[in-house]
Every structure is written in C-alpha cells, then in structure tokens.
Symmetry: C2
Subunit: 238 residues, 2 copies
Amino acid sequence: MTITIQSVSSTELERCARPIVAVDLVIVAMQSGALSVLLHRRTEPPFEGTWALPSGVLDVANQGWQGESIAEAARRIFEYQTGIASASCHFASLGAFGRVGRDPRTRVISMGWLVGVSPEQAARVDTDLTCWSAIANEVPWLRLAFDHAEIIATAEATIGTTDATSLALSLVSQPFTVADLRGAYEAVLGRPQDARNFRRKFQRLVDIGTVVASGDKRHQGKSRPANVWRAAADQTNP
Amino acid sequence: MTITIQSVSSTELERCARPIVAVDLVIVAMQSGALSVLLHRRTEPPFEGTWALPSGVLDVANQGWQGESIAEAARRIFEYQTGIASASCHFASLGAFGRVGRDPRTRVISMGWLVGVSPEQAARVDTDLTCWSAIANEVPWLRLAFDHAEIIATAEATIGTTDATSLALSLVSQPFTVADLRGAYEAVLGRPQDARNFRRKFQRLVDIGTVVASGDKRHQGKSRPANVWRAAADQTNP
DNA sequence: GCAATAGTGTCTTTCAGACAATATTAG
DNA sequence: CTAATATTGTCTGAAAGACACTATTGC
C-alpha cells in the first residue's frame, strides 16, 4: 500500500480550532552564590495563591499584520513583567510545552524561555508578590501552577547540557573579575570550579574575543587587585 | 521604579486572537549513502507547484477534551502522511518556527520535527507527488514553500550538534552490521569515519547496551561474514 | 592463491581534572 | 610582616584521530 502526501487545505486552515500560544519565562539570577528563579504569586484562578512563572500571550493580530515573532514576544513580555531592558540579557528557548490540560481553562501551547539577568537587574524587580527561589530548593516546585515545575526542570536540564558561558556572562555585573565569572559558572554548573583550571578556560574566552580586558583593576579589602573584564558586545542570543 | 508582575486574566485569555499551531516534518532517510529529505509538491496556493515539507495541524478540540499533545500530533501526522508506524522511528524536536508572515494566509506557529526512517520504510512512501532530495543538494532549498528551507537548515544544524547515535540507528535496516551503522554515521555527520576508530566507538555502544548482538552473521559476495547487531528496544525518543 | 570485506592495536594530540607555589595589595 | 586574594604551571587519565596488519570467506 502506498500513501500520497497531502497538504492542509486553506478551508481546513480557516475552520480548525486554535490554541492560545503563550510564553513562560524562567528568569534566573544569582542570589548569594546560587541560581534563583523569579516566581510570582497568582491572585486569581486557576491556581489562585500558588507560585507561577511570569508569562504572557503571543500577540497575533496587533502591529498591523500577524503580530510578533515568538522571540519578540519573549522579550516584550520580559520587559513588561520586569521593567528590565532585554538587550543585555541572555535568552534561550526551552521549547514548547503543550500537554493537554496544562491549563484547565483552554488549550494553551506555551513556549518556555530561559533568561539570565545580572544582580543589579534582579534587584530592580519588586518583591511585593514575587520572590527569588533558589533553583536547588525542591520544596516550592511541588506546588507551582500549571506545568511550571516541568518547565523549570527543563530549564535545569538545558542549563546543565548547553555551554555555560553565555548564561554565566549574563549573570555577572559588568565589568567583572575572573573570580566573579567563576562564581557564576559555579552557580550555573552547580559544582565548585578549580580556580587554576578555570583560569585556563577563561584565557580561551579571552583568546577568541568573547571577553575583553577593561583595563581597570579592582581590589576588595587588603588583597591583590584583580583585573576586570567585559563581555564582548555580541553575547546575547536572539 | 518598580514593577509588579501580573498574570494573564481569564477574560483576556478568552478574547485574544489565536494562531494556528502546525507540525512540519523533516523526514530523513539514507539514499545511496547520503541523507535525503522527503518533500512533496504542493497542489494548491500558496506556493502552488513548489516543494514543501509534509505537515499537518495540531488537533485542539477533538478526542473529547483539549485534543492531543505536540508529540502525539507529530506522530499522528507522520503516520497519516507516510503510512509508516512511528514507533520504530527517531523523533527529535527542532523547536518552534513562528516568523510573522511565514504563511501568508493566517498566523501559523509550526513545530519542526526531525524524523529518521529506515531504507525499507522510506521505500514504502509513494513517489507520485513526492521526492527524496539529498540534504547536501542546495538547489531545491531556494524554492521551498513557506520557511521550510529554514526548518531544514535548523535540522542540519541539530543533526550536526547532537549525538548522532539515535538518528543513525533509526536510519539502518535491523539487524545491521558495523559497516552499515558506520555508513549511517557517515551520512549523518557528512564525513568519512575511520573503520578502526569507529569500531572502538561501536564497542562502547555494545558495552552500555545500546546495541546488542543478534547472534547471526551476514556475508556478501566472496568475503568474510560480518556479525549482525540490533538496536536495544528503548532507542526511540518520544 | 587471490579478491574482498571483517576485525584488531598503537601512537599522538587534545582536553579536563587534580594539585601548590608565587605575586600584589592593605593594614 | 601578616592577611587576603590573584595569578601562574605540571602531571595524569580519557577520548579522538591517524595509521597497518591479520582473519575469514568465495572463487
């Protein structure tokens, strides 16, 4: 038996039911040396009173034509929810989360995005109905709204398998010392990094131009001053 | 200035415009030693007469409640379009493709999926309005419908960066010889593999149980018979 | 014996991880 | 001089790539 491949007809395309497409943000920052996720407390059903990821709905009709791209939506919703300019932040897609029933109201396909922000940026977020929860802390995950625990688990897996450099660079204040960046790597990778081996890895980042010397030095207390560095301009992933 | 994070309200969720969510399949198979992609010729606008990837629309309302998950949709549409049982095939998500204007009719967010099929399965697909096009062949990509050239480019990038083992195992007939699998690796990686170094890599797959000896031997023409092997049962990615 | 493919071992390079000593500042 | 942090170099093991020979079959 052979099969002939068929296209979706235009009439079928017009008639068929459509889901909502949303964006869920896993916004991470360093809090006292560990990775934390930004959560906010829901004030209406469903899941009223539980913690949830910041999110928003993809714009399909505005801006004159078909709305905005998914990456644009992620940045717009991030800026709307946090007030932070997205240009200096690291964005990485976590894929689609489309389980049936993940939102009991209607069918929602959500695109997960991982966003890394610096300590200064993180400090600007209002903590009224929000909190930064350590990602290693298992307790709150059990009671998160929707499938947000699954999205955070995917974020953890993505963080663990992709190159840590872009994310770590987005988590440190600019400019930074080698020790600062090493701390970010340790937060991202979840394990201590040997200072000497890390310096070798850092040197490779210098050699390929990912980080550049700022020329200044910085010293804290009574110790030898450290050289300070900056991420090269093109470190954000669109 | 501080910002308070807000949830999407239920009324906004009901009112807002919704996109179509679709699935585009990059179905790959080995054709005379090289990777090929299954294309079909469109018979209606838009892009009438041009080549396109097999695709379908996510089911949101049927099956009683909210329809099907994205992975279920990918397998359903694959089986509908090819007649091949999806259980023995390798599925990997390529992410979302949601550029504004990618479909001129209406806003469509498409989930790309990479599917690897064996030569026997590939041979079952009718070649009436379809073709297997070598993935290294640049010419047809220029004239593909929608953003399907971009999806195939993403598939190539994904193939080049992820571990080739699962995909290669899905591309060979079962059972297979070491030389068969090496040919699949060469097609996937796009470069020749040294037989001796590959045997060492293969031995690691045996050691961790990814492939198991079938016990038989196979010989072609006048040469020494080769041992034949099988992929372990749990090689498909859902 | 000859043709053809299957299967095995060694050397080198590269990268990651374990490990200790020296350098520069404030006090 | 002491405290504190910054910076640098060596050894070792794992894995990948380059490379040549032996083994088993049909004819």
